[in-house]
């Protein structure tokens, strides 16, 4: 089994480490980098809890190998708020709309929404709602999440 030296930027800082070929990006982020905001639910792409940003795009960290992140820019929920603790707009809106309860699904949802609102094409509420469809939440009943999506799209104050 091959082992690889890897380096990528993690929330703006250089991260260097080693990973067995079979180690998922999610496990590497949690275990080698200590970023436990990357949650693991299903480990086969269905629940969305592990979603992180790679080169600006929302991806499943359980469906990517750590070696495949070589040279990429990886962002996790730990990197969303400013260094002085000011929440990212996505986090602020999720909080205000009571779009989380236990918080297990929240980091993944925050990363999906952040990738879309920071992307090149300004997403409408429908696009944000559809993207939330790629996440399972066992607590909120989704209505708070929908309100958050509409606010982030600029449809509501």
């Amino acid at each position: 089994m091959s082992e690889h030296a890897i380096s990528f930027t993690l929330n703006g800082h250089l991260h260097e480490g080693r990973a067995e070929a079979r180690t998922s990006l999610a496990d590497h982020l949690r275990q080698a980098a200590g970023h436990c905001g990357v949650h693991l639910g299903c480990e086969h792409g269905a629940c969305g809890a592990c979603t992180v940003m790679v080169d600006g795009k929302a991806v499943r960290a359980c469906l990517m190998l750590a070696v495949q992140a070589q040279g990429c820019a990886v962002r996790t929920v730990e990197g969303l708020a400013a260094s002085d603790g000011t929440l990212h707009r996505v986090q602020q809106v999720l909080r205000e709309e009571h779009a989380l309860q236990c918080g297990f699904c929240t980091p993944g949802i925050a990363m999906t929404l952040a990738a879309l609102v920071e992307g090149e094409t300004r997403p409408d509420a429908q696009a944000l709602e559809q993207a939330i469809g790629g996440h399972l939440c066992r607590c909120t009943g989704y209505q708070g999440l929908r309100r958050a999506a509409h606010r982030l799209a600029g449809d509501a104050p």
Partner: protein, 290 residues
């Protein structure tokens, strides 16, 4: 849930990738977007000893027009294809279908080549490629060859792609003459789920008459399936004299829907019949008025 151990290689050229596959003698797997393979590895349903990552071979991502059609590189990422101007203008059926492939987050990495190579019977892309008479380009140490999509699909998860071959591109030939109208529906429990039944195709019109019809089912048999009898009945028909129920009955000939935990075969067939007739009726009515 961890994959069994394997080696990982990320060759920078197609020849190098083909050489690695040939040397592995069947023990290697290609990894494209990983959105199907990674779950299989995590569940240990697949245990290759080597993964050959196609992600560092830039020419596999190209989407370009060339004489006689559009060539879509196997490693073109689903979300990029969804927004690609050439796909939007010239392959609208593909764009329409891609919106149903998994979720935004899986489409960030999933590729069209992976979807074709995996040949999941309920997948949208193989049906689109079959309906549009696409050809699959394959590369190995023995050289390059092309296989028509109709000959490529052998069964569930079984294709003409040999263990040491790489799908490099799909070539979509220019459509038949005439104005084109998409025919598409998919029934799934939730967006992002695999289809319970679905159909992808195009009608080509001259005035109010259908001059060509190309329709393919997904999730209605062991592979994507052309609805040849329905196509034959549609060609030459005027839009305002089509009987959607009769055509739907013809379209179901040759399908073999299956029972599984998501739906019974009888349910799939009933829904497919109704949805086919409704979609055809609405498509024809929309065109007749236009």
């Amino acid at each position: 849930m961890k994959p069994a151990p394997f080696d990982y290689a990320r060759p920078a050229s197609l020849d190098e990738a083909a050489r690695l596959l040939a040397e592995a003698g069947g023990g290697a797997s290609v990894i494209a977007g990983g959105q199907t393979l990674m779950p299989l590895l995590n569940l240990r349903m697949s245990q290759p000893f080597l993964l050959v990552d196609l992600g560092a071979i830039p020419e596999l991502r190209a989407v370009e027009r060339h004489t006689g059609g559009i060539r879509v590189g196997a490693m073109a990422v689903q979300n990029e294809l969804l927004g690609h101007p050439l796909v939007r203008s010239d392959l609208p059926l593909l764009a329409r279908a891609l919106g149903h492939v998994g979720h935004h987050q899986t489409r960030s990495r999933g590729t069209i080549g992976g979807s074709i190579a995996f040949a999941e019977p309920a997948a949208e892309c193989p049906a689109v490629a079959l309906a549009l008479d696409a050809r699959v380009q394959l590369h190995s140490v023995r050289g390059m060859r092309q296989v028509a999509m109709a000959d490529f699909l052998h069964g569930p998860y079984a294709t003409a792609c040999a263990f040491d071959e790489i799908v490099t591109a799909l070539v979509f030939p220019d459509p038949p003459a005439g104005e084109r109208v998409e025919v598409f529906f998919e029934v799934a429990r939730r967006p992002g789920d695999f289809a319970l039944t679905g159909l992808a195709g195009e009608l080509h019109l001259d005035g109010g008459t259908i001059v060509a019809a190309r329709l393919a089912w997904f999730a209605m048999g062991h592979t994507a399936l052309r609805a040849r009898e329905a196509e034959a009945a549609l060609v030459g028909a005027a839009l305002d004299e089509i009987e959607p129920e009769a055509i739907a009955a013809l379209a179901l000939a040759g399908t073999a829907p299956f029972d599984d935990k998501a739906a019974s075969a009888a349910y799939r067939e009933t829904v497919a019949r109704r949805m086919f007739a409704r979609t055809l009726r609405e498509t024809c009515a929309g065109r007749a008025m236009a």
